[in-house]
C-alpha cells in the first residue's frame, strides 16, 4: 500500500513508479493499494503514472486499486478528459482492501508496505 502525501514533481513520480514495481516483485504482492486522499490535484502526468502502475502490476500478476480520490479532483479529471483506463477505484482504504480481496483466490495474500518517499518535496 502506498500513501501519496506530497505534491510530487515529475521525476519523483517516475521514481515512485519504479519503486512500486520493484516492491511488487520483491514482496510477491498480489495487490497494490494507492491512497491519493491527500492529493489535491491529479494532472495528466500523474494520471498516466497511475495507469502505468496499474498496467505494470497486472503484468506482474497484481491488481491495483486507487482509493480516496477527492471530489474536486474527480470533477477536474472528468473535465480534463483523462480516460484513466484500467484503474480500479474505491472510496477508501477499507473498501479498497475489500475490492482487492474479492479479486483473489482464497489462498493468495496481499502484501502491504507503507512507502513514503524520504526525499520528497514537502507540500507548501
Amino acid at each position: 500500500m502506498v500513501s501519496i502525501q506530497v505534491d510530487m514533481h515529475d521525476r519523483l513520480a517516475l521514481t515512485l513508479q519504479d519503486d512500486l514495481t520493484s516492491q511488487i516483485v520483491a514482496q510477491g504482492a498480489h495487490g497494490v493499494l494507492i491512497d491519493i486522499s491527500a492529493l489535491e490535484m491529479v494532472d495528466s502526468f500523474i494520471g498516466r503514472m497511475l495507469s502505468n502502475i496499474a498496467n505494470m502490476s497486472r503484468l506482474l500478476d497484481a491488481e491495483t486499486v486507487v482509493v480516496g480520490m477527492q471530489p474536486s479532483v474527480a470533477i477536474t479529471l472528468v473535465e480534463l478528459g483523462m480516460p484513466m483506463r484500467g484503474i480500479r477505484t474505491a472510496l477508501d482504504i477499507e473498501k479498497g482492501m475489500l475490492l482487492l480481496r474479492s479479486e483473489e483466490f482464497a489462498s493468495a495474500s496481499v502484501s502491504e508496505k507503507d512507502a513514503k518517499d524520504d526525499d520528497a518535496v514537502p507540500n507548501v
Binding site: 505534491d7 510530487m8 514533481h9 515529475d10 521525476r11 489535491e40 490535484m41 491529479v42 494532472d43 495528466s44 502526468f45 498516466r48 471530489p71 474536486s72 479532483v73 470533477i75 477536474t76 473535465e79 480534463l80 478528459g81 483523462m82 518535496v121 507548501v124
Partner: protein, 137 residues
C-alpha cells in the same frame, strides 16, 4: 486615488521542480482570490499541464500569474511562454489523444476545457505562448 499594485508574478520554468512551484503559486493565488475548491483545482491542473508543456516541448520558459478584472468579475490569467520549436499544426495539437514523440497528449485540449478563456500563439521557430483565464464564479 491609490495606484493599483502590480498584479503579475513571473516564474521561470527550467526543471520539473519549477512546475511544482508554479502549481503552488497558482493555488495560493486562487485561494486568496476566493475561488471555490473545484475551480481552484481546475486552474491548478491546467497550469500543471501547460507548465509541463513549456518545459518538455518548449525547452523551458516563463509563466506569469496575473489577477484580472472585468467590471465586477475577478479572474486569474496565466500565461506560459517559451522560445522553443513551436507547434507546426495547432489544430492537430489541440486534438485529444494527439501525441508527439514526447507525448504532449492532453495538455492543450485539457487546459482549454478547464479554463474559461484560452489563447494560443505558436508557429515553427517562433516559440509558443499560451494564456488561460479562469473567472471567479
Amino acid at each position: 486615488m491609490t495606484m493599483p499594485s502590480p498584479t503579475s508574478d513571473i516564474y521561470e520554468i527550467r526543471d520539473s521542480e519549477d512546475v511544482v512551484v508554479v502549481r503552488q503559486a497558482v493555488r495560493r493565488q486562487a485561494v486568496s482570490l476566493g475561488f471555490n475548491l473545484v475551480d481552484q483545482t481546475k486552474i491548478v491542473t491546467a497550469a500543471s499541464e501547460l507548465a509541463r508543456n513549456t518545459l518538455i516541448h518548449g525547452g523551458g520558459g516563463k509563466a506569469s500569474v496575473e489577477i484580472v478584472r472585468n467590471g465586477l468579475s475577478t479572474g486569474l490569467k496565466l500565461t506560459f511562454a517559451d522560445e522553443g520549436p513551436g507547434i507546426p499544426d495547432l489544430e492537430l495539437a489541440m486534438r485529444d489523444g494527439y501525441t508527439t514523440k514526447n507525448g504532449m497528449g492532453l495538455g492543450l485540449g485539457g487546459a482549454k476545457r478547464l479554463s474559461n478563456e484560452f489563447e494560443i500563439d505558436s508557429a515553427p521557430e517562433k516559440g509558443t505562448r499560451v494564456a488561460i483565464t479562469r473567472w471567479k464564479a
